[in-house]
Symmetry: C2
Subunit: 359 residues, 2 copies
């Protein structure tokens, strides 16, 4: 398969199962979970063993490939594939790559006569390779936007861990270094799930980047001190007008970037754009359990894992897992089909017609 | 002593020692630490057993009173008092109330002939009562600014726990309810030290308020959804031009409030205003240990306390404990001498001359 240019391999297809790096245990333990069924893949997505919009799209494709291998009878296989598609499609509501990947697998299935298993596996493998190739193009386009010595702020994890293996926002970071430029990264820790502290800090540290961890509420202070040359984040769903849903906290960074005249970039493949979705108000926002806010998973000095409570019992909690950044706050969307700028309705439509993938 | 109108008593003077509610163990355990010496009080401030600008000012005053009780010889007492003042003054750099309280104790000491101990105790007790009275005035002035059915956002803990017992920002909350109005509070958890989750959520829950906990990075989302009628926070130091240092994350909320046309209020006594400090750039910002970012203290389901790590070993961390909100983003400063508005250089000077306390 395609080289990752990252030491991190979040998704490994063994030929008969999907091995997923358990991101809940990072950065403390590097443990893979083996999924042999679509149900196991769905569980892995729901419980956030794997997360990140492009990554869960690719995993759902492999989940359908696994479902297609259960029987040799084509009718049963079709039923299994559709059941798996329905199950996988219901795991996370916000990321559009999930629906995109499932839809693509079902269309290939519908166009295939005879045994389906090998075709489904090949299609999922293609999607895996295409995701890394798309990330590399995003990286090259993004690197051209940055200067020779740049400090960026990122949020959540839009890295190798969120994709098949190179990253969208962190793909831009990798490509910038590959282009011979100096880049430093501030990673917001990304409460409540701490993807920034646990995943981005770890992933960038693994690959020797200059990364500094801050809590999310420190970003304003560093904007005021002119620390950042740009903000680069990923996306879970981009509406046809450019409004972008991404991890909770992204919108705050966009407002801060705008107030400080710092470019705010979204890095995402075209598969994250939902042409059926006219604007941000139409994007469903997943509300997750309050216990993810009141409890934190971590490790003590002896390496023992504990889930600790940090708020009083019985406290009311809100936990929207994503927010929507309006297009007017986005300097550019860095896609695998080039850098898109406002007016996004036009530039997005043009990018799809150029790439011939307005599906 | 004055009634608290809060079930929470963070600071109790026993007549010969200072009993401090150990805020590091909240909300899980209600434990008091008894301080019999100025050194013990200094340790309690440094290790954040007690925190909050007005509270540490009052504690420092009692610390000096304790130092004044060690000997009966006036020369030795003066030496002890000055040593205690120096020790206590060095515990936290940002909160100006600390310097204000110590300065007041030293001036009273200098003006006193003969035995000092009883005078120092009386002065500290006065400061305790005056702090609660000032909080109550802040509360009444603030309540007049709010409607009959209000939802506010607050940050960190500017409550009973941060003062002698009623609160500044949360004093406004209490007074609003006492005025017969309905008030709901969103509390930002306030990473890294979680004063919002551990202290504000608990304190408001104890007194039966409608409080909802969110992570700091969710505030933008709720601003966009028009959830908040106002933001009310405390202050650690206010410069003569109105620029305000407060807990890290405050500046971000001020930018968000401005972008969404929501009033942004500072609630603080005049003792938090530093007339010697011309503007925010002159306020020293305490940088605390990175381990407070990478490690979190909490409790498991069995009530066992654990300090858990949530970031990779060896990661670089920044931890400014405060940030500065420029006066132009502050709708009003609610003080014990009335509601001050821009231009703050003028309104602050007038408030001091009205109160006769331009010391």
């Amino acid at each position: 398969m395609t080289s990752h240019s990252s030491t991190v391999e979040p998704i490994v297809w063994t030929g008969h199962s999907l091995r997923l790096l358990d991101q809940r245990l990072l950065p403390h333990e590097v443990v893979y979970v083996e999924c042999k069924t679509a149900e196991a893949v769905a569980d892995a997505i729901r419980t956030m063993i794997v997360r990140g919009a492009p990554a869960i799209g690719v995993c759902a494709a492999f989940g359908i490939a696994l479902a297609a291998g259960d029987t040799h009878d084509r009718d049963s296989t079709d039923r299994n594939v559709h059941e798996a598609a329905s199950l996988l499609g219901g795991t996370r509501p916000t990321a559009i790559n999930l629906a995109w990947a499932i839809d693509r697998m079902l269309r290939v299935a519908a166009a295939t006569t005879g045994p389906l298993h090998a075709t489904m596996v090949r299609e999922a493998e293609s999607m895996f390779r295409e995701d890394i190739a798309a990330n590399r193009r995003i990286g090259r386009f993004g690197a051209e936007l940055l200067g020779d010595d740049t400090t960026i702020l990122t949020h959540c994890n839009a890295g190798a861990l969120a994709t098949a293996g190179y990253g969208t926002a962190l793909g831009v970071v990798r490509a910038t270094r590959e282009a011979g430029k100096r880049i430093a990264i501030f990673a917001g820790e990304t409460r409540p799930y701490l993807q920034g502290a646990r995943l981005t800090a770890w992933e960038l540290q693994q690959d020797g980047f200059d990364v500094t961890l801050i809590t999310d509420n420190m970003s304003g202070h560093f904007f005021a001190r002119e620390t950042f040359d740009a903000v680069i984040v990923g996306a879970d769903r981009i509406a046809a007008n450019g409004d972008t849903a991404n991890k909770i906290g992204t919108y705050t960074l966009a407002v801060l970037a705008h107030a400080h005249d710092v470019p705010f970039y979204i890095a995402a493949p075209l598969s994250t754009i939902d042409l059926q979705c006219p604007n941000g108000a139409a994007i469903p926002i997943e509300e997750r359990s309050g216990s993810e806010v009141t409890e934190t998973l971590g490790w003590d000095r002896d390496g023992q894992q504990h889930r600790v409570r940090v708020a009083p019992d019985g406290i009311a909690v809100r936990h929207p897992a994503f927010d929507v950044t309006p297009a007017r706050l986005i300097t550019a969307i860095i896609t695998d089909a080039g850098v898109l700028r406002a007016p996004y309705a036009t530039s997005i439509a043009e990018a799809f017609s150029r790439s011939g993938s307005a599906d």
